[in-house]
């Protein structure tokens, strides 16, 4: 057991996979000399050389598409897009190519590309650098979408994604890179099929993922002090989502609060809420509540930025409301 940061866990997976399989390579803006905009690939250029740690120009559509192409011919590319905001320039490649090629070809080709990107707000980067677009990608059949929230998943899910025959998009919340966590020895393999019960409880299910897990867990702890037992689900895999675990938990607690940084309307939380209403309706003892992004492009000043994304206090308030202590 050792303590590592989320960033180090990502780097562990990058190194392990590059050592294990020579088809694996990393490309993206400033992944080499600069060491990655969030320093995940620091030192890897020296270790693996320019051919496998490829700095790209500012050409998101071009190099993401190139990753898809390389995957088509048997490589295992890891494409890093600095932030999800810039991935919008590559949306065409990801959605019209990566997600469709297998299907359009009648199953003849597959696209084992892994696309990593940072996501989320909290660093006062204002309206063009702070958004969470998980909803865009989870909307698309053909993509697998991951949202690691722990150091074990940061490493393990990247490795599992590389073993997956289909395109995988990994969201790394920028607020997590410095987070420390215990990494068991040897580091464990993880699956891409299950949600994780991060904390067991009986009164209300708090459903979240990625960057919101920390605040949600804090909320659960605060609720416990008030005698309310909250179960926390870390969804981990956003698509295909492990609905069984969600429904089982709701069947136990009969109440659900969804916490997601993306905008509420038409968002990721909207789908989770709709599915619970559709398929676990008879289990509900209270309306589903969502703590999600406010409908505003994220502003620069910290008080407004924080007001536009989920806060621990809001999670607590929503949970209290559904358990009837509001």
């Amino acid at each position: 057991m050792s303590e590592v940061t989320f960033r180090e866990a990502v780097r562990m997976a990058l190194r392990e996979s590059m050592h294990a399989d020579e088809r694996v390579f990393l490309m993206g803006e400033d992944v080499g000399r600069y060491g990655g905009s969030y320093a995940c690939s620091m030192g890897l250029l020296e270790e693996f050389g320019e051919a496998r740690i490829r700095d790209t120009p500012l050409s998101e559509s071009g190099f993401v598409g190139a990753g898809i192409g390389a995957a088509l011919v048997g490589m295992k590319p890891i494409v890093e897009v600095m932030t999800v905001n810039f991935s919008l320039l590559a949306l065409d490649q990801i959605i019209n190519n990566a997600a469709t090629l297998r299907h359009m070809s009648g199953g003849q080709v597959n696209v084992p590309v892994v696309i990593r990107m940072s996501t989320g707000a909290g660093k006062q980067l204002a309206a063009q650098h702070s958004h969470s677009w998980e909803a865009f990608y989870t909307h698309v059949p053909g993509l697998k979408v991951l949202s690691p929230a722990t150091v074990v998943d940061a490493r393990g899910m990247l490795l599992a994604a590389l073993d997956d025959p289909d395109p995988v998009v990994i969201f790394e919340h920028s607020g997590l890179y410095n987070m420390k966590g215990e990494m068991p020895e040897p580091p464990p393999a993880v699956d891409l099929t299950h949600a994780r019960v991060a904390r067991e409880g009986t009164d209300v299910t708090l459903i979240t993922h990625g960057g919101c897990l920390r605040r949600t867990t804090e909320a659960a702890a605060a609720l416990a002090e008030r005698g309310i037992s909250a179960e926390v689900l870390d969804l981990r895999v956003l698509r295909p989502l492990d609905w069984n675990t969600v429904f089982e938990s709701v069947a136990k607690t009969h109440r659900a609060v969804i916490v997601d940084e993306g905008w509420k309307s038409w968002g990721f939380s909207a789908e989770v809420s709709a599915r619970i209403a559709e398929d676990a309706f008879w289990m509900l003892d209270a309306p589903v509540r969502r703590v999600a992004g406010v409908e505003v492009p994220i502003p620069y000043p910290t008080h407004l930025e924080q007001a536009s994304i989920p806060q621990t206090a809001q999670v607590i308030a929503a949970a209290l409301e559904v358990v009837g202590h509001g």
Binding site: H254, D279, A280, F281, W282, M283, L284, D285, A286, G324
Partner: protein, 392 residues
């Protein structure tokens, strides 16, 4: 050549899944034969054929979801209209009977007790689910939720009675609930209900029944519900305006008397299939038909016609301990009769106060089809019939 099409088994049915064919090409079928099982919102329903002949072709595979009106099979018609529909229907082997709940009249399609007459009971889905599972009427439950809503935790406390077995699928229940919701919402939207009610002394009727049951072998014994239904049929004969349908802005009276009769299903949900020709059958026949119907309803094997052709519905809340029920009319019917619990009451008989067995009977009528005057005549006729059970 006749076409056998996906039948419309209810105003709200738009499509159905052809679950099972009970015939194959070359088979001869008589009018009224059950030739297929169709899955609908309301459960699996056996559907009968309306012409006689030989099955030429089955046009739809089992498991296909098809819109109402789609041709399911082609039938080469024969000249012989020999068999009577009812004979054909009776000829069908009915599944082995299952133990039936002691009473044949669980909650009606639209029970609404006085407490909720002003609005529906507020209850969470989980509470409704638990209540249906345990056979608890939400009406009587004190809610601890917001605005007094009944929550899941409130139900076990209220569940005095034994639970029904757990439903295997939430989905089925949801579909059933949706179907009921649709019909009831339509009723409340479209039908201007009027409500009448009166208490009827049924001491004589019950005494007569007890005497009669004591004198016959068990298979011929009757439940009070049979008497109530016969009495309703007798009252309809006197006041036929309550028996029929409101269609195309007109009241269409029905000659046959098919009484809809609510059956609650295991794990919640309910259907109100029809007992056919209640006035024509003897009480013993009726008792058998009722037992058969409950069994088949619970096995999901009702016939199409049974689902749609009730001409008036009777809802009884007596078994739920409810003294009075004002029903919601099942469209396109134009009335629903509500029967409450039989209670002992001080009652004036020949100028003296005596303890009598009294049942509240109500009528909810469609004001478009008839008026309170008609409803009053009907209730009087019903009270009369109940006081002379031998005549039934």
């Amino acid at each position: 050549m006749g076409d056998f099409v996906m039948p419309s088994l209810g105003a709200d049915m738009e499509r159905g899944i052809l679950n099972e064919w009970l015939v194959k090409p070359g088979d001869a079928v008589a009018k009224g034969d059950i030739i297929a099982v169709v899955e609908t919102d309301k459960g699996a329903i056996e559907v009968e054929v309306w012409s006689a002949g030989v099955i030429e072709e089955l046009c739809v595979d089992e498991g296909t979801d098809t819109p109402v009106g789609t041709v399911l099979a082609r039938i080469r018609e024969t000249e012989n209209p020999a068999s009577e529909p009812s004979a054909a229907a009776t000829a069908t082997p009915s599944p082995p009977p299952e133990p039936v709940a002691t009473t044949p009249a669980p909650p009606a399609p639209a029970p609404s007790a006085p407490a909720e007459a002003r609005g529906r009971v507020m209850a969470s889905p989980w509470a409704r689910h638990l209540a249906a599972e345990r056979g608890v009427a939400l009406t009587g439950v004190t809610g601890s939720g917001p605005l007094g809503a009944v929550l899941g935790r409130d139900v076990p406390a209220a569940a005095a009675k034994t639970a029904h077995p757990k439903p295997d699928k939430v989905d089925q229940l949801a579909a059933m609930r949706r179907a009921v919701a649709k019909a009831m919402a339509r009723s409340k939207r479209e039908i201007p209900h009027y409500y009448l009610g009166t208490d009827v002394d049924v001491t004589g009727a019950l005494a007569w029944l007890a005497r009669r049951n004591a004198s016959v072998p068990p298979p011929e014994r009757l439940l009070p519900a049979v008497i109530w239904l016969k009495a309703v049929a007798a009252a309809i004969r006197k006041v036929p305006q309550v028996n029929g349908f409101w269609q195309d802005d007109a009241l269409r009276l029905s000659e046959p008397i098919h009484l809809g009769f609510a059956v609650s299903l295991r794990g919640g949900g309910l259907v109100a299939p029809a007992l056919h020709d209640v006035d024509q059958r003897t009480p013993v026949e009726l008792m058998r038909a009722m037992t058969d119907l409950v069994t088949r309803a619970r096995r999901g094997r009702l016939r199409g016609a049974e689902m749609t052709d009730a001409t008036l519905t009777v809802t009884s809340m007596g078994e739920r301990g409810v003294e009075r029920v004002d029903g919601v009319i099942y469209p396109p019917q134009v009335a629903i009769v509500g029967l409450g619990k039989v209670v002992e009451r001080p009652w004036v008989v020949d100028g003296e106060v005596a303890v009598r067995k009294v049942m509240h009977v109500s009528l909810a009528g469609d004001h478009r089809a008839h008026d309170g005057h008609t409803g009053g005549l009907f209730l009087n006729a019903l009270a009369d019939a109940l006081s002379a059970p031998e005549a039934l």
